[in-house]
Symmetry: D2
Subunit: 347 residues, 4 copies
């Protein structure tokens, strides 16, 4: 932590800071510049100290130096975290594609989608049973019935399932069905929920909040890991900007930055990231080229009848086309992609 003194501060104010640091068992290390005096804080600081120092007389600014996240940082763990879900490894050599409908609607809808995405090379099945929705008048999911249908789809196709948990009270229920727990963008800072999923031993996919900084995102991962659950993967799904053409602006740069500063796997969700089905393929390709460990793609048998997010869902045909476009780019990036099953079952 660096305390920058204002130009008009004097020795008295500096002495006060030094004294205050000593109270907390810390040392102040003075550095007098041409214009300003700067005090380096030496010792084990604590988060509240910044605010405390900032209000003292003569202080212009307090600048933190240490990163506030530890367990999720690459400095703490240099090797990549690899998460095993059944036979699939997320964060390793394979480019893992997760696909399925936004919301589970019916058995027929879910099972036909599960078969189609499996045939096209998807390795996990997604589907929402508990759906967050901006409006109370929208479809909010089938609840446990949706979870049962997901389990049925897993039984039939062998695909592990990922589904969202919305609230702490549902964690044990969702854990009893899901292979991966999803924490949605709107819950990225639902700290009680983070604690609860951190107490489980299921892999967690943590989506980025719609205006979360990278640091805040990693701090939310830190909540989960600090409860003992190290199987956290991150998911970039677009941030909010002034642009209105797309639903969100996908922050592709988040992918290489997360790979640099953290050991956690990173997945990209170009469906929510753009909000438009015809932008899913180019952004999926971009995410892979930028180093993503996987993709999460919304697929629906009939997007024009979807109860949720139809505008950003791919038809089976479009998903199959995307998978064939992905293959050469994944290969160029040195990534394995699951082979498609040539049964013609996808249409």
């Amino acid at each position: 932590m660096i305390v920058v003194m204002s130009i008009d501060s004097g020795e008295k104010e500096v002495a006060e800071i030094i004294k205050r640091l000593k109270e907390s068992g810390l040392q102040g290390h003075l550095s007098k510049g041409v214009e300003r005096t700067v005090i380096g804080v030496v010792g084990q600081t604590f988060p509240e100290l910044r605010d405390m120092l900032e209000v003292l007389p003569g202080v212009e600014e307090v600048i933190p130096i240490s990163k506030p996240y530890k367990l999720s940082s690459r400095e703490f763990q240099p090797a990549d975290t690899i998460i095993k879900v059944g036979e699939v490894e997320i964060g390793g050599d394979e480019l893992v594609v997760i696909a399925g409908p936004c919301a589970v609607e019916t058995e027929e809808q879910l099972l036909s989608t599960a078969r189609a995405v499996k045939a096209a090379g998807a390795r996990l099945l997604r589907g929402g049973a508990f759906k967050p929705s901006t409006s109370p008048y929208h479809f909010r999911g089938l609840g446990e019935d949706g979870l049962k249908l997901l389990a049925l789809a897993r039984e039939e196709t062998g695909l592990p399932i990922i589904t969202e948990v919305l609230t702490p009270g549902d964690v044990s229920l969702v854990v009893s069905y899901a292979d991966v727990l999803q924490v949605g963008a709107r819950n990225m800072q639902n700290f009680i929920l983070l604690d609860e999923v951190g107490k489980t031993r299921k892999p967690v996919m943590l989506k980025r909040g719609m205006s979360a900084s990278l640091q805040e995102w990693l701090l939310s991962a830190e909540y989960i890991i600090s409860q003992g659950n190290r199987q956290v993967m991150l998911c970039e799904r677009g941030i909010r900007t002034f642009e209105t053409y797309t639903r969100n602006t996908m922050d592709i740069s988040a992918i290489p930055i997360i790979k640099k500063v953290s050991h956690l796997p990173i997945i990209a969700d170009p469906s929510h990231g753009t909000g438009k089905w015809y932008l899913v393929a180019p952004l999926a390709l971009a995410a892979v080229a930028a180093g993503a460990d996987g993709l999460m793609i919304e697929v629906h048998p009939t997007p024009d009848y979807a109860l949720k997010d139809g505008a950003q869902s791919l038809s089976f045909e479009n998903f199959e086309r995307l998978m064939s476009q992905l293959a050469p780019v994944a290969s160029a990036m040195g990534r394995k992609l699951a082979a498609r099953v040539q049964t013609g079952a996808t249409d």
Copy 2:
């Protein structure tokens, strides 16, 4: 809802849309412009329709016309909602000032603050017992012990208390202590929590999410009201922008817009809205001049020792100064402000 057809679409695509609308019991009303055909949708639409139509061939864009929120709109209820908390009316003629520490820390800290803010003219006491915090390593509040201290402070000063509820599982506990439930910015779209506070009959203060549009904010209020709890007040606490000088950018324009489109009271929180104690007074004055029904201000006996948000907390002396600055502006705006008690107790 308006369906805008693309320039290269033809009669076949239009016929398809009309047919599709009929399926849903709706009518399509054609309007051929110089460049484009536009179809007005007549009848009772439903939220999913937009996405469904948007993916149909030949559709350029689907534009909603109706507002998605109803119960919180001024069209639904032209008269202002006035919320009674003890003897205080929020949303009426009085400018209601809510003050207190960010977090409840100790009995001494809370009680001295409660006495000081009451003497200066505050009408409600705020204080966090359950604290959301970006980092798992920060202070997270005293929990129920904090609620007990708040009850003690109410008993001594007579000030009603407002405190945050973080998660559905805590609602009944917090309801048993608090006079007003606060839903924080990070929980604005914690829909299960909104449902739960909506099932209570306690007044709720709903803070704006840090990148929430005004429409999304009102839709979150709609969640609460649609559960039967009509005592909702909104609180503007700053939005996230590119500016780094302040913690948030306070959106003062939200105040008159909410007053125009909704009947709900609106409170301003310049402490979180700016993050710097020396900006609290000018932004508080601005909020009142823009028509706010009340203010929420963080006050601490010793901001430089606060366990939370010291940098944005006013000392007793600064709070008293703010109250005297507020008086003439409140009066210029035709608002009553509680008289200060002249005991000298505030310092």
Copy 3:
């Protein structure tokens, strides 16, 4: 400047930095923390140094300490700058209201507006002769004919005139007519134009760019002042955020911050700041309560026939109403406001 070394850097990298600083006549001041080594740079740094150091091996981050703007800072000049335009002082005790149409359209339009705003208490007349416009197909102003009409209006009413200069080639022409030169938001970083208006001795109003940080804004003022023209006033006119209800989001906090860090006067423009005429009054009042030195308001005889920005323009009647609402708030803030002339001439 502070150089923060990465955790895995060692003495070799630190030695390299120290050597590099010496090359530039600077000293490095080492401070070893628990986790990281930090190097304080002592001596007269230069702007390019930050980038240069940032790419050296072992460097995690380089943090500037000094503010990059000098002449516009309050540290450089503690006393407020007061700008005289005719008899009017901007930045002093008076709340100065500037009003007039967005664009000069006709003699009748301009003169009737000039008379009306003068009668209501405005002290300067605004009007655009050269208009920036997002689209090449929009009205772009009358050019020099517009300047002549402005001069005519000044002659008749005695109101000094402020008008925008769009490009360096027009500076001498506009200087020959205007009392205050306006540099628009889109030109805030048109550095050649800043140089040119800096070479004149006319007061300049510098509008904030639509996504300019406060620091960038002051650096643009620095361009003008460093050319010798110290008569710079700033104008907050809203920034771009995700919110679509308003044209821009007015950053009211910019007003007290500018007053704190700079000696330059600050004006608020709630017309562009909101884009909606019915939000002009509440935001104007808020700006005054937050400490603005003046307001710039768009007024048009018939907003529904305005060639530019009708939706945010006040009619004469609404402007007069605004002026009467301003009076008590200005007075509460200790500001003088020009008395209205009671001629009934404003309608």
Copy 4:
């Protein structure tokens, strides 16, 4: 254009709108919904109409339907624009890489860079002679001396040159040296400059403003094209968001959107787009995978001594590595990439 009436408006207000439309030679086409009346405007509208209608009594909102840009739209010209610069075609099958230093500093610096980037496969040389700079105290470029060095580098290497023109008064000078004129992000809405480059017959690269919407960007292209210069290419260089880790947030989704709605070529600039040299390669790869027609990359012989933007510049070695990473991704996307010259000259 669609006029949405407020719920409490009646027949009188509607009649007024219809009458007003007739005045302008337009027809109003009524559509009565369950809640609201909507009026479709039929006929050739004009831009100012929206504002004019919006202030009329009973109007809730006016929604434009037609796109405001014409000449730059794919509806106007379905075939891709291909721009020839010497032997290079931009917008065709080849992935065109433009590289060079941010600023021209010395003959040695520029020529060594030109040779290195050519050997690695770059097709155009970039280099700034007139540099925009946030601060007046930064390096502002060599001016015409820089242009002369660029011409020298072209003579020696055969690479066409692209360089920025900052102000209308310099257009003829820059045209006499450059092969492609660059209009920088800060000048995207410098409309007089757009007019001037539109009057030349040189290809223009128009960078996106740092908070420009896609529509505003295309409208700026429209300025140039409407002056008769159809050789416009766009350049995405990152937008401003709340994230502070990167200098800008690169909007990769802009690439496929521009390809969809416009016929103009689109280039990506990951150097400015990220501000960090180690993020240039992943974002360059992402841009190519998303469909970019070319890349603009900053390269410097010694980034740690660069006078401008060293932190985002690649060394020769890193640029060569990037080019070899690009080859397989370009190939996967069906794009040709210029072969590297195997001389070992790049290091």
